[in-house]
């Protein structure tokens, strides 16, 4: 009886495992397959999942390598600009947000001060904030201040909206650090700087790093502000630029081109996930906040 149950459990787990893999990867495989279909194949329409004659032409067009399809001469320039903007904006926003969040989370985890609950409640409220509700006033304000369509114009709101996530993740993480070890090191003769650098930094670094990954994901993904607060490729990020690639006929978008661009911007995400999956899961569940 028990053995029978165990076999059934094992089969169930296997079925579940395959179900999860198919669920998570099918759309990714689909977009990769689509990116290898030539413009001829998608324009004629093809109900086939895999490409009939795989081609890298879409990647050549989107990255501007080799011969570009006539009519797509400017596509790669816009896309590469958007990639540059996305990387720059996400990296700067992540860097600044993580610094501010580290200071705040340290105070929340270790110090007793008035207003601690208020700060945590504020962070929670902002994590739930409907971003669209701010777009109007922010659009107006940014035009007055000259921040419309600039990098700082996106970096500042990205910081505000990722801080809650970073603060929650980091303060949960900092609470677990055995801070007594720092004093122990000092008792053993280390200076306070040595104790901080050799003991505390290695303990805190994984948490800070996790918070940075989650913050980067948010900034890399953000769309509402990216289309509302930008107007040219001077600051338009990848998600916004992708929505501009649709072309003149919305019923017949450049499928392959969009798919190739999608694959290119998904590659960094896949690399980060492959390298740091354990940390990301720990960060997500300890902070339990999505940006």
């Amino acid at each position: 009886m028990a053995a029978k149950n165990q076999t059934r459990n094992k089969i169930g787990t296997w079925v579940g495992f395959i179900f999860i893999l198919v669920w998570c990867l099918l759309p990714v495989v689909w977009i990769m397959s689509l990116s290898l279909k030539g413009p001829g194949e998608t324009a004629a329409g093809s109900a086939q999942f895999l490409p009939k004659s795989p081609t890298l032409q879409n990647y050549r067009d989107i990255l501007g390598i080799g011969t570009v399809t006539p009519g797509q001469e400017n596509t790669h320039a816009d896309f590469l600009d958007a990639l540059r903007n996305s990387f720059g904006i996400a990296a700067i926003a992540t860097f600044l947000a993580v610094i501010f969040a580290t200071l705040a989370a340290y105070a929340i985890a270790r110090l007793d001060f008035k207003g601690k609950r208020l700060v945590l409640s504020l962070a929670l409220a902002i994590a739930m904030f409907p971003v669209v509700a701010l777009v109007g006033p922010l659009f107006d304000l940014w035009r007055t201040l000259g921040l419309f369509n600039t990098w700082p114009g996106l970096i500042i709101p990205y910081m505000s909206f990722t801080l809650p996530l970073a603060i929650w993740t980091l303060s949960a993480f900092f609470r677990e650090i055995p801070w007594e070890m720092e004093q122990a090191a000092q008792v053993d003769g280390a200076t306070s700087w040595q104790a901080f650098r050799k003991v505390i930094v290695p303990l805190a670094a994984p948490g800070v790093f996790t918070a940075a990954i989650l913050t980067f994901f948010f900034a890399w993904n953000e769309f509402v502000l990216a289309i509302s607060l930008t107007s040219t490729t001077a600051s338009r990020t990848v998600p916004a630029q992708l929505s501009f690639f649709v072309g003149p006929d919305p019923f017949n978008p450049p499928y392959g081109l969009l798919a190739a661009a999608s694959v290119v911007v998904t590659v960094p995400i896949i690399i980060i996930v492959l390298l740091f999956q354990r940390k990301i899961v720990a960060g997500l569940t300890s902070g339990a906040v999505k940006g």
């Binding site: 999860i20 007793d112 001060f113 700060v119 904030f129 409907p130 769309f223 999608s262 995400i269 339990a288």
Partner: protein
């Protein structure tokens, strides 16, 4: 920072009211407030000020294309919005999307969590694949599904044409319900992993002894699930539902990419965006923003009340 770290090591238990403030606790109080200040300022600059601005602008007739025509109109913008059938239709759409996606995600996410909890092999592979939908750009997910449902180039029609209501001619984006379905599929695909990770965290906190005790007492698997596991995961379920519901309520990216609001698939967020950014109706748009904000607050309060869990406490434990 290193010296302050050392001096502030002996932190008294938080939340305890002290009548006498020593020099040291006063210094700690000051340091704590100084450390959180930059973060608080950045969070408030982009949210509090524009929110007040939205409250103020919502009382004016104000169009960016004719700024001189700004005129105080009291609450009439709210009247215009609340009597407009489009506003109500979009609200209903948003609520349908929220309820359906969160409900489906809760079930599938729970199944995922059970599998991940029990699995002994390939944990890294499963974690990696589950994080890919989470990390992927929503716009990319929306395109992937839009193309999958496409009448010319998609696979949904050819793979599922054994179902009586699907054929190679099914146009998913031509009418309301099929388009809503496609949008929800994209949303559910992208966000179920997040839900399942939160549920997994809750699941791993349920004591194995308790489950085993129930098993010894003769409880079936189904009974153990409903009488032992789920009640003990209430806080985790609430956090997952709360965050996903509020996130689903502001759905925008998928709709923008997949339909641009065609076939009556607009959400509240999309309507607000269209009024403000495309039609420059700042007055009317601000009234919509304020209503959206109020709905989110009400929704959050409702969910917290429904689950009867102290949020700060639940999250402090997590």
């Amino acid at each position: 920072m290193s010296t302050t770290t050392a001096t502030a090591a002996a932190t008294p238990p938080a939340g305890k009211k002290r009548i006498v403030m020593t020099d040291r606790s006063r210094a700690e109080n000051r340091l704590g407030q100084r450390l959180v200040l930059p973060a608080v300022i950045v969070m408030l600059v982009v949210t509090a000020w524009p929110m007040f601005q939205a409250l103020y602008l919502s009382l004016f007739r104000y169009r960016l294309t004719s700024p001189d025509d700004k005129e105080f109109v009291g609450l009439s913008n709210y009247g215009t919005v609340l009597t407009d059938p489009l506003f109500w239709q979009d609200t209903v759409n948003t609520v349908i999307i929220m309820v359906v996606t969160v409900g489906v995600e809760l079930v599938i996410g729970f199944v995922f969590a059970l599998v991940m909890h029990r699995i002994v092999f390939a944990r890294g592979a499963i974690r990696t694949s589950i994080l890919i939908p989470y990390g992927i750009i929503t716009v990319v997910s929306a395109y992937a599904w839009q193309f999958a449902f496409s009448i010319n180039n998609g696979w949904v029609n050819s793979w599922f044409d054994f179902l009586p209501w699907i054929s190679s001619e099914t146009n998913w984006f031509g009418s309301h319900w099929p388009a809503m379905f496609a949008i929800m599929v994209s949303e559910i695909w992208k966000t179920t992993p997040f839900m399942s990770l939160l549920l997994l965290a809750g699941l791993s906190q349920v004591s194995e002894d308790m489950i085993e005790a129930a098993e010894v007492d003769g409880a079936t698997w189904w009974q153990r699930l409903w009488k032992v596991i789920i009640p003990n995961m209430r806080a985790a379920i609430m956090v997952a539902v709360l965050f996903r519901a509020l996130d689903a309520f502001r759905i925008f990216d998928n709709i923008y990419v997949m339909t641009r609001g065609a076939a009556d698939t607009e959400s509240s967020s999309f309507l607000t965006y269209r009024q403000v950014i495309q039609q420059f109706q700042l007055g009317l748009g601000s009234a919509l923003s304020v209503l959206l904000f109020i709905s989110v607050l009400l929704l959050a309060a409702l969910i917290v009340k429904l689950f009867k869990v102290d949020l700060a406490q639940a999250r402090g434990e997590a």
